[in-house]
Symmetry: C2
Subunit: 302 residues, 2 copies
């Protein structure tokens, strides 16, 4: 199996899969980082083959970064935090994978992010990056909110901001609404002059392509554009309401994670902002903690 | 080349590609139907390979239906009406296809639908099926509105109605809104009991899967469900406004085409409904007229 002899010597890899990238970090049993790797999107909801390929690619990078061989993945006990594995069918698909690790433990990306943010302690998190979702774990209770994916849910996420902006700009260019600075921004972003040019750049594209527009939408909103302000405030209101639902479990700590966590703060309710604590460790360490706990409980009699 | 000797004997095939199916009909030069075939979706915006496969499959069916051989497509002059070919890159991709026909002429599905609806005369059309879009052709002027595709545009279409309903139901099931009859309808539609069950059925799915929900959303609206009424009315208002923009070209005739054209009528502005004329011929015949006109003008000196 490639497992090393004692628990203290066992190496772990924590993997954080997401809608735009997959990050993997190799740790010793005491949490020391040996090496990291990053690859493309790893979201089982949007393709298993790509998810597995991204996990393998980020693992290979992490192994090389750690001074190990690309083929040494069989030495690692893996913890995977992946979107969509709360769906039973997808969980089955992922754990059925002929993975290259000594052992593999799978949970949601929300769960591993929460474990990481509070360094193993109870708490709540909201992730707003390409997608959006919330999770709280307090004692035996846990609560998961949103995270239904692009374009079905994920209000307040980067992809949602981009989609709403593109929708509005196309309506404006077709004469159904008044063009604003947001319209100019989107045309400039793609270097095009009409609706067709925008559609050509966005049709059939993944959530990460839409999320690339989010910063510009926020810039327009912060500069006072009424349409952009309306979109950003609607998204932020949803995130604030999500936080309040998580607070119903009375979590000791609450963190916000993801590329939009900081820029969205100015738009959130002051009651929510007052409760934000810094994240203590990244989701990859949360995934490693999760794997270590599962592995040690399974191998308790070794 | 397989072209028969005189124009009067030349056979044509009119192909109407769409977001959920592809319909092909073989005609004699005077418009007599020889055979028809139907295959899966043919929308270049969402995949060229599938588009070409659907065109070939519907053509083979039409050939067999016409009592010809599956391999006789080289005898046919083809007219294709396809979504997305107003995008120059996609138009190039489609006309670069090593197609099986004697000759192939390509234009938008909107254009062929309009030619068909008014049997070659000037006029305007709105298509509301899986997607939505509008087109008018009067003299040298033409106007194309909307049709930006799922989930970027296509307000008032079947896929849009389904997406808006699913979005709202997921918010309701997460406690962000009040559940209504629409919530029960969607859970029952998929035979599931929670948000996760709905996400499992819709995540990453195509516009046609969302469009399958449209009839139920309309039923809920017609039964008085306030959320469904809000969604349907917002979509219908957009379609009414689109019609008024098309009327600015003073088209002699105006028709509405697609699976939602009839059920949406009760929700449209009375000024719009008053101008609706029946469609005189299907988009496939429009595609055939287009091909015949192009072919005869190219081969005028034969």
């Amino acid at each position: 199996m490639g497992l090393v002899q004692t628990k203290d010597q066992q190496l772990f890899i924590g993997v954080d899969g997401g809608g735009s990238k997959c990050r993997a970090t190799i740790y010793t049993a005491d949490g020391t980082v040996l090496g990291t790797g990053v690859a493309g999107r790893a979201n089982p909801l949007h393709g298993l083959a790509q998810t597995f390929a991204s996990i393998e690619a980020s693992t290979r990078q992490a192994l090389l970064d750690a001074g190990m061989k690309e083929t040494d993945s069989h030495l690692l006990v893996a913890g995977l935090g992946l979107a969509g594995v709360n769906v039973p069918r997808l969980y089955q698909d992922v754990i059925s994978w002929q993975h290259p690790f000594a052992a593999m433990y799978v949970t949601t990306d929300l769960h591993t992010a929460c474990i990481g943010a509070h360094r193993g302690a109870d708490g709540a998190v909201i992730i707003t990056g390409t997608g959006s979702c919330g999770y709280a774990h307090v004692g035996d209770d846990s609560l998961s909110i949103g995270g239904h994916g692009f374009a079905l849910g994920d209000k307040g996420s980067g992809a949602w901001l981009g989609l709403k902006a593109a929708e509005h700009v196309l309506l404006a260019l077709d004469g159904f609404a008044t063009p604003t600075a947001l319209t100019e921004m989107l045309l400039k972003h793609f270097g095009v002059s009409d609706a067709l040019g925008i559609v050509e750049h966005l049709a059939g594209k993944s959530s990460s392509c839409y999320a690339e527009l989010a910063r510009s939408v926020l810039d327009c909103a912060n500069a006072g554009d009424e349409v952009a302000r309306g979109i950003v405030q609607e998204g932020a209101d949803y995130i604030s309401e999500m936080a309040r639902k998580l607070f119903s479990l009375n979590p000791v700590r609450f963190s916000m994670i993801g590329g939009l966590a900081e820029p969205l703060q100015a738009w959130l309710g002051s009651d929510v902002v007052a409760k934000i604590s810094e994240t203590l460790a990244p989701p990859e360490l949360g995934a490693m903690y999760f794997a270590q706990q599962q592995f040690n409980s399974v191998n308790i009699n070794e």
